[in-house]
Symmetry: C2
Subunit: 459 residues, 2 copies
C-alpha cells in the first residue's frame, strides 16, 4: 500500500499547518533517580558489551553518577576476562527457496569462513530430537533446532527453551555438525534475533552458531513441513576475545553501625551489543541505586548498603563481575544479597532465603510489602549472576523481588532492548518495593544468620 | 539476565523429558484458499521487490496458482519500469555519543560514498520546521526529520506523517543538505526501520536518504534535547535501477453474460525487500482471489470477475502495474474496480463511489454487509494504486472494503512483514466480506454508470 487510500488525508494535510512541538512528544519520559540513570546509560553510552571501550566508558559514567548521587567509596575495580566479539553476520536459505534470514551469532560462536558456510540444513523440532540423532549423522551439515518457548510471568520458559541456545550447539558439534542455527530463545514475533552465550563443554569443538528470529524460524519450520531438502549459506564472523578488560563499579551508603554486616545490591553494567541494555540491565542498576537512596529518606539505616554495578555478566563463562567481587570482597561481612536483573516491569512476588531463626525478619518484610500487593512466593530466592558467587561462598541470605517477566523475553538480548520498552511507572514501583525492603533489612539490629545451601546444588 | 533466576526451572527441565512435536506448533496456521496463497507466496517466494528475479518467480508462481484454482485466460503481461535496488547500509551516530543506528535506505535514495557520508546532523522536530530552514543553511549537513505518527484505525496518520518520507528528502536537498535521515513512517517500537519511496521533484538533486527505527529516532530526539552538536556516519548504497523488468498477472472468471462490463479486483504482487510481503500485499492477492472464487459458489455470476495481481506497485514512480493495466486493457468494458492493499485485519467499513442512479445497488451492498457488522462510511472510495489509473481514466465506480489499520503501520515496509502477522480468522473475514459484495455487484443486471470525478482532483 502506498498512498492512494489516503488521498483525502493528504489533501487535508496540505491545507493544514503541521503541529510544531520543539521535540517530538512520542516517547514516554519518566522522572526521578532511576529513570535518570537508565535514560543516561542508554542515551550517553548505549550498547556496552564486555571488554568494549563502551563498557569502560560506562564504568566512568557510573562512577561519576554514583558520586554525584552522594555515594561513598565509589571505585572502579578492573579485572581481565574471556569475552566474545561480534563480527559481520548474514545468512540466506538457498534451497528449496531463496530467502534471506534475520540471523545473529551466539556468544562464543567461532567464525564461519569469510565467504560463508554453505551446507545442507537439517531440521530438529526439539533439543531431544537433536540428542537422539545418531553419532556422525550431522557431518557436513548445519543443524537447525526449533522449540516452542512461550511467555510466562516468572520467565520459566527460559530454563528449558534457553537450553536450546546454551546446550544445542555443543550437542550438534558432538554429532559432527559444521554449524548450528537455533530458533531464538525469545517470545516475540519480530525479525530481531536474540543473542546470548552458548557453552561448548570441555573437549567439544566449537562450531559457528547463530539464532534466527521467530518469523524466520517459522519459515524454516513451514519449509521443513513440505519435506524438501533445505540448505543454508551463512556468514557469522564473531569470535572469542581472550583477556578482555572489564571491571566492577562499587559504591557504599555507610550505615550508622559499621560493625553490622552490610546489605549488597547488584545489577550489571555490561549489556549485549545489539540493543542499548535498557531492560538488561540498565534498569537493574537504576532500581538498586535509587532504592538505596530511598532507604535513607527517613534517616540513615543501621547497616551499610553497597551497590555493585557488575562488569561482564553476559559473557562470564570463566568468570564475570560476580566472581571478581567475591575474590576482592568475600572476606568482608555481608548479611543479605539482592539483585535486579529481570527488566523494569513491576514486582509481583517476594522470595527469600533466610535461616529459620530470621523468620521474624521475613514476616516484617512481608508486612511491609503487603500494602503494595506483592505476595510471598514459595519459590527459593536465587539472587542473580552477580551475587551468585558470594551467596554460594558465604551462604548469604537472599531476597528476590520477582518482576513480571511476561514481556521480558520479547526484548531480551535483541536490538529492541531500548529505553522506550521501560514503563516509568513500573520502574518506579520497583524502586518503591526495593526501598521498602531495604528500610526493613538495613535497620535489622539483630544477627542475620547464614543459610544452609539448597538441596541438589541450588543456592 | 543470564540464567540464575531460573535455576529451579533448569533443574526441573533436566528431570523431565522435553515435549517432542514433529514440527513446532508455534505459528497459528490457517486454512482455505486465501491462507494457502499468502502462505505460499511468503514461504516459497518471500521478498519480491520490483525488477527482481523473485518478482519474476512470483509471477510464474501466481500464474500456476491461478490456473490450478480454475481461473481462465491466465496470463503474464510483462512491462519495463524504473525501479530501485537496495545496497549495503549501516550508520552510527558519532557525536556527542557513539551509538549504532538501525537504518534503512528509502527507495530512490542515491548512494553515499562507499566509505560513508560523515556530516553534522541537524535536528528538525517537524517537516514544517525543515521547510522553515533558510536556503543553503543545510549545506554539508545531514538533516534529521522527526514526527509523531500515531496508529489510527483508518491509517490516516500515513497522510501527513508519511509526507516526511515522501517530501522531506526533496525539501532537505533544496536547502542544500548532503543527506537526510527520517524517523520511520511507522507506529511500532522495534528496531526495524520502515522503507518506502521518496520523491525528488524534477530539478531537485537526489540525496542519500534513510529512515531510522522509532527507538533510534527517540534516541536522536533525546540527544537533540541535550543541546549538544550531533554528527553521523552513514553508508547507504542503494540506487535507482532504470529499465527493470516487471509484469502483471491477470486472470478471469467469466460471467454468464459476456456483454456486461466486468468487475476488476486488484492487489499487488511485488513487495518491499525487507519483509516477505505478507500484509503488503500477499494478503490482498489472497483475499481478492479467494473472494472471486467464493462468489461462484451459489452459481456463476452474470458478470466476469477479473483479478489483477499487479507488478511494481511499491516503486511505481513513473508508472507501475496500474498504468500498464490501463494501457493494455483500458478499452475493455469495466463496471467496478476494487483493491485490497491494507493488510489482513478485518473489514469494518464500506465506502463506495457510484453514480446517483446506482443508489439501489449501494443499498443492496449495504444490506448484504449488515449482518457482518460492516458499516457504511461517508468517506469517498479510492480503490488503490493498481486500479487508480483505470478508475481515473474510465471514471469507474469503486467499492472499498476498509480494513482495520490500527497495527498496519507497525509492520508496513519493515522486515516484520511476515506471515505470522496475519490472523487467519481476520483474513477469512475479508474473504467473506469481499465474496458477499461480489455476489451482489457481479449479479447486477442493470447498467452501472460511470462516476463524476471528485472535486479538487480526487478520484
Amino acid at each position: 500500500m502506498r498512498h492512494t487510500l489516503f488521498r483525502a488525508a493528504l489533501l487535508a494535510a496540505a491545507a493544514a499547518a503541521l503541529p510544531a512541538p520543539s521535540v517530538s512528544a512520542r516517547p514516554v519520559e519518566g522522572t526521578g533517580t532511576a529513570w535518570t540513570i537508565v535514560e543516561g546509560l542508554t542515551t550517553e553510552i548505549g550498547p556496552r558489551p564486555t571488554g568494549s571501550a563502551a563498557e569502560a566508558r560506562a564504568r566512568d559514567w557510573g562512577k561519576a553518577k554514583l558520586e554525584a548521587l552522594g555515594f561513598r567509596n565509589v571505585r572502579i575495580e578492573p579485572f581481565r576476562t574471556l569475552a566474545w566479539q561480534r563480527g559481520p553476520e548474514h545468512a540466506r536459505l538457498t534451497a528449496p527457496y531463496d530467502q534471506p534470514l534475520a540471523i545473529t551469532a551466539l556468544g562464543y560462536s567461532v567464525p564461519t569462513p569469510a565467504t560463508g558456510l554453505k551446507a545442507p540444513l537439517a531440521y530438529f523440532p526439539t533439543l531431544a530430537a537433536l540428542e537422539a540423532a545418531p553419532a556422525g549423522s550431522l557431518k557436513g551439515k548445519v543443524a537447525f533446532i526449533d522449540h516452542a518457548m512461550l511467555a510466562a510471568q516468572d520467565g520459566s520458559g527460559y530454563g528449558p527453551y534457553g537450553d536450546v541456545r546454551r546446550k544445542g550447539p555443543g550437542i550438534a558439534s558432538q554429532k559432527g555438525a559444521a554449524g548450528v542455527v537455533i530458533r531464538s530463545a525469545g517470545t516475540d514475533e519480530h525479525r530481531n534475533p536474540h543473542t546470548g552465550i552458548t557453552i561448548f563443554p570441555q573437549g567439544v569443538t566449537p562450531i559457528p552458531s547463530g539464532a534466527v528470529s521467530n518469523p524466520d524460524a517459522d519459515l524454516i519450520a513451514r519449509i521443513a513441513g513440505r519435506g524438501k531438502p533445505m540448505s543454508i549459506d551463512m556468514t557469522l564472523l564473531g569470535k572469542p576475545y581472550p583477556d578482555a578488560p572489564s571491571g566492577n563499579v562499587i559504591a557504599d551508603l555507610p550505615g550508622r553501625d559499621p560493625s553490622l554486616p552490610m546489605i549488597l545490591l547488584a545489577c550489571h553494567l555490561d549489556s549485549w551489543d545489539l540493543g542499548t541494555g535498557a531492560i538488561d540491565d540498565g534498569a537493574g542498576c537504576a532500581i538498586i541505586t535509587a532504592a538505596a537512596l530511598a532507604a535513607q529518606k527517613d534517616g540513615q539505616p543501621l547497616r551499610t548498603i553497597r551497590v555493585l554495578w557488575s562488569g561482564n555478566e553476559e559473557m562470564g563463562l570463566t568468570g564475570g563481575g560476580g566472581d571478581a567481587y567475591l575474590k576482592a570482597h568475600g572476606a568482608e561481612p555481608h548479611a543479605v544479597a539482592m539483585e535486579s536483573d529481570f527488566g523494569a516491569d513491576h514486582v509481583w512476588a517476594l522470595k527469600t532465603t533466610f535461616a529459620p531463626q530470621n523468620a521474624p525478619l521475613v514476616k516484617k518484610i512481608e508486612a511491609a510489602l503487603w500494602p503494595m500487593g506483592i505476595v510471598p512466593h514459595p519459590g527459593r530466592a536465587g539472587g542473580g549472576e552477580d551475587v551468585g558467587p558470594i551467596i554460594a561462598a558465604n551462604r548469604l541470605a537472599v531476597v528476590d523481588l520477582a518482576q513480571d517477566g511476561t514481556r521480558y523475553f520479547d526484548i531480551h538480548h535483541t536490538p529492541d532492548d531500548t529505553l522506550d520498552k521501560i514503563d516509568p511507572a513500573q520502574l518506579q514501583q520497583n524502586v518503591d518495593a526495593w526501598g521498602t525492603v531495604l528500610k526493613v533489612i538495613a535497620n535489622e539490629p539483630g544477627p542475620i544468620a547464614t543459610v544452609a545451601p539448597a538441596p541438589e546444588g541450588g543456592d
